[in-house]
């Protein structure tokens, strides 16, 4: 952090400190699985429906079920109204989240079917795709979908030369020096493999290595919150 223009985090956290996190499962009674995941001012909801028959039929795969992820922000989640319905941004995020989750689930027991995961963001203060992934992994587990491992995600950032975990909106908008870099990451819970990786900004390879390590550690905190949510509520009771 020496020589960096961002010395102290706006909200007083240490660089390795995540925001207060909260999670619960079984929040949508009509779904097969559902969950919420909150970190600071960001909240994600995820709902799983399926496995169910995939239509149209030509999309079906006789060898395995298919995962389909849809991510979106609710119109009132941020200051500027989000137009309802899919956008280029939401379509891309849906796809990278789908790939991230595909790494841990096993739908080979459900040929010709689809498992739908709907991620929605009711309120946002940065890190919506990683919060969404944390909720989605919870909802998939809650839906009883076969999974080799859980999945935990975090956004590691860099403000000027300072690496930070779980960046908020104010840090995402840091403009001084090298500005802001955002690295959303997801790790599988057992092998600790990386299943989501995006980067937006300026960073050296050695800084990136460090950022990934910080993310891996922070995801232990995320996993603990996920584990508590699943172990605390094993029924289909809704809140």
């Amino acid at each position: 952090m020496a020589g960096s223009l961002y010395k102290k985090r706006f909200d007083g956290r240490t660089v390795n400190e995540v925001r207060p996190m909260k999670a619960s499962v079984g929040v949508v009674p009509s779904a097969d699985g559902s969950a919420t995941f909150e970190t600071g001012g960001t909240k994600a909801m995820a709902v799983v429906r399926g496995p169910r028959t995939l239509h149209p039929q030509h999309m079906q795969n006789a060898r395995t079920g298919i995962l389909r992820v849809s991510y979106g922000m609710m119109p009132f989640s941020v200051w500027d109204r989000i137009r309802p319905g899919p956008s280029r941004r939401s379509e891309e995020i849906s796809k990278v989240c789908e790939w991230a989750l595909d790494a841990v689930i096993d739908l080979s027991g459900f040929p010709n079917t689809v498992v739908d995961v709907f991620i929605q963001i009711p309120k946002a203060d940065a890190g919506t795709r990683v919060a969404g992934l944390n909720a989605a992994a919870l909802a998939l587990a809650h839906a009883g979908i076969p999974m080799k491992e859980m999945l935990s995600a975090i956004a590691v950032g860099k403000a000027d030369k300072t690496l930070l975990v779980d960046v908020d909106k104010a840090e995402e908008d840091f403009h001084d020096g090298e500005g802001a870099t955002d690295v959303p990451l997801a790790f599988t819970s057992r092998k600790k493999d990386i299943s989501l990786l995006q980067l937006d900004g300026k960073i050296s390879p050695s800084e990136l290595s460090e950022a990934i390590e910080m993310g891996r550690k922070a995801c232990e905190d995320v996993l603990k919150v996920q584990m508590d949510a699943l172990k605390g509520a094993t029924g289909e009771k809704n809140g």
């Binding site: 496995p51 006789a62 080799k148 172990k231 289909e236």
Partner: protein, 255 residues
């Protein structure tokens, strides 16, 4: 719900079958090459690992993870309750809340049905209790040739989580019997989470429905039997409630 660690489970052979721990995907259930991964578990080196979220059962070194939530997956031998949604030239399609519809071939009904008179035997919207006899990738085949299966008439059908079914049935049917004793209603539980309630009048059926839904919403609660007893008393339902097995808080696999 307390989480027992794996060591305390294997240290006591006697309670092993009853001890349950809630596990999440990727979590080591138990370590040791002598343990065998079963349904919902897999091996990773010396570890037996949970392959889904649920309750881990270790019985005679055999590890399985039983789901506690999620959709219904049909299995051969299951009894399910469903509704006719289509009639084909050689059978009926039944919606039972699963990924695909079930198929009831005309040869699998208890009497001969002429192919021109299929709707007279079973028509759109009519409900049936059937047995799953084959699960294929394209769908589920069912039969109602055996005794106790067939068309159902009157009463009402309610839905609970398929994973709550064992609690609604109770140990050796104790919970169902308790509801029956209190309300006088027949309660038939399909493993797909559909429950058929049929009684003398709708008031009694509604009372039975309330109790079934209460069990469904409190399926993981400890001391559920006592809570249900209390609820029945509070509802002012009396009846020849059968003797209840004292400790009945464990979900049993109904298969």
């Amino acid at each position: 719900m307390g989480v027992k660690n794996a060591l305390s489970i294997i240290s006591n052979e006697k309670i092993m079958a009853k001890e349950r721990q809630i596990v999440i995907p990727g979590e080591t259930v138990v370590s040791g090459n002598e343990f065998l991964p079963g349904d919902g578990a897999y091996r990773d080196g010396a570890d037996v690992v949970a392959g889904r979220y649920g309750i881990a059962n270790i019985f005679e070194k055999h590890v399985k993870v039983v789901p506690v939530s999620g959709a219904y997956y049909p299995r051969r031998g299951n009894t399910i309750i469903g509704t006719i949604v289509d009639i084909t030239f050689n059978g009926w399609l039944i919606d039972f809340g699963g990924a695909q519809n079930a198929f009831l071939p005309v040869a699998e009904v208890p009497r001969y049905v002429n192919k021109n008179e299929m709707a007279e035997f079973l028509n759109f919207g009519e409900s049936v209790i059937v047995k799953v006899w084959d699960v294929k990738s394209r769908g589920v085949d069912v039969s109602m040739k055996m005794r106790g299966y067939g068309k159902i008439e009157g009463g009402m059908i309610i839905s609970v989580g398929p994973n709550q079914v064992p609690r609604i049935i109770g140990r050796e049917g104790s919970m169902v019997n308790m509801i029956k004793g209190a309300t006088g209603c027949d309660v038939t539980v399909g493993q797909n989470g559909k429950v058929w309630i049929s009684g003398k009048d709708t008031d009694k059926e509604v009372a039975a429905r309330k109790i079934v839904e209460f069990i469904g919403e409190n399926a993981v609660t400890v001391g559920l039997t006592e809570k249900v007893e209390k609820m029945i008393k509070k509802m002012g339902l009396e009846g020849s409630a059968p003797e209840i097995v004292a400790e009945n808080t464990d979900a049993e696999d109904v298969e």
